[in-house]
Amino acid sequence: MKEDNKSIIREAFTLSVPVATGFLPLGAAFGILMHSIGYNWMWSAFFSLVAFAGSIQYLSISFLTSAFNPINAFLVSLMVNARHLFYGISLMDKYKDSGKYKNFLIFGMCDETFSITSSLEIADRKKRDKMNFYITLFDYSYWVAGSAIGGLIAGGVKFNTMGMDFALTALFVVLFLEQMLKKKNRIPGLTGLAASILSLMVFGSGNMIIPAMIIILVVFFFGGDRLCS
């Protein structure tokens, strides 16, 4: 039993290594950015500990440097992370009966963890739940550790971070491109792009997100059957 546990941990670790190569540097970049706007490593680590959601944490830099508006922050967070709803639906059967692991598995359901656990096929349920738990735990710790390390090194060495916030733009360009490379996602992706540019021109840069989301939802609600066929 003990030996079995060890082999599960080892396998979970191996599966999580590619995530580490992404989360450690991206987490560190987040810690450095937080430091550059006046929040030390404890803030960046705390934020990563409670949210564990890369893109919205990067976007939150703008919430932390503008007027206090937690309702707006909450709503934007809901929309930016709406994709998690679909992860939850996909992982429903794998996660819903995982007992003591369940809450942590749902809490830690980020894009990268989803991409691993949703593709794993393990027949033994006990083993599967344990494996999912350790994968989630490893991914989570890389992100938190990266954020703390970034904040710490930013405090130690003088480093000109001007322009580093482009990491977020680049991340979304990559994710968008990945979607565009799949033929069936082209029209919905371009719809999102067009709706957002329209919303930006009409409502300005301060208020573009919510109208853009509404346009997208309306288009998909009425045109969805055709787009999905």
């Binding site: 934020f47 929309m79 996602n185 792009l193």
Partner: protein, 111 residues
């Protein structure tokens, strides 16, 4: 720091609450064998690509393409990310390549 520590904490917790609603909601709503409506099934497919398009535009929302330097740093950097990604399909390489180009523009070329 523009916000007080207390306000910053509230902002961070508000963001985190938003994240957690999106993660826990399906498990609360769709317990058991309830079937989802086909409209909803469509949205599940359509929203992720659209959301990525929105986020790209959101990140570039404050760039001015009509006044100098005409968004040159952003344009070149985004093109770099796209080319690197089409070439190697390695997300981390594409991201950090784009960041390097952008930082070079901001810190040396457009100074």
């Amino acid at each position: 720091m523009q916000l007080s520590p207390y306000q910053a904490l509230i902002t961070i917790l508000a963001v985190s609450a938003g994240v957690m609603v999106t993660r826990f909601l399906p498990f609360i709503l769709f317990r058991g064998e309830k079937k989802m409506s086909p409209k909803f099934e469509n949205l599940k497919e359509l929203i992720p690509p659209a959301m990525m398009g929105l986020l790209v535009v959101y990140c570039l929302k404050d760039v001015s393409f009509t006044s100098p330097p005409y968004g040159i740093a952003e344009i070149v950097s985004v093109v770099t990310v796209i080319l690197l990604h089409l070439w190697k399909r390695n997300s981390l390489l594409s991201i950090f390549g784009g960041v390097a180009v952008y930082m070079t523009f901001l810190q040396f070329i457009l100074k």
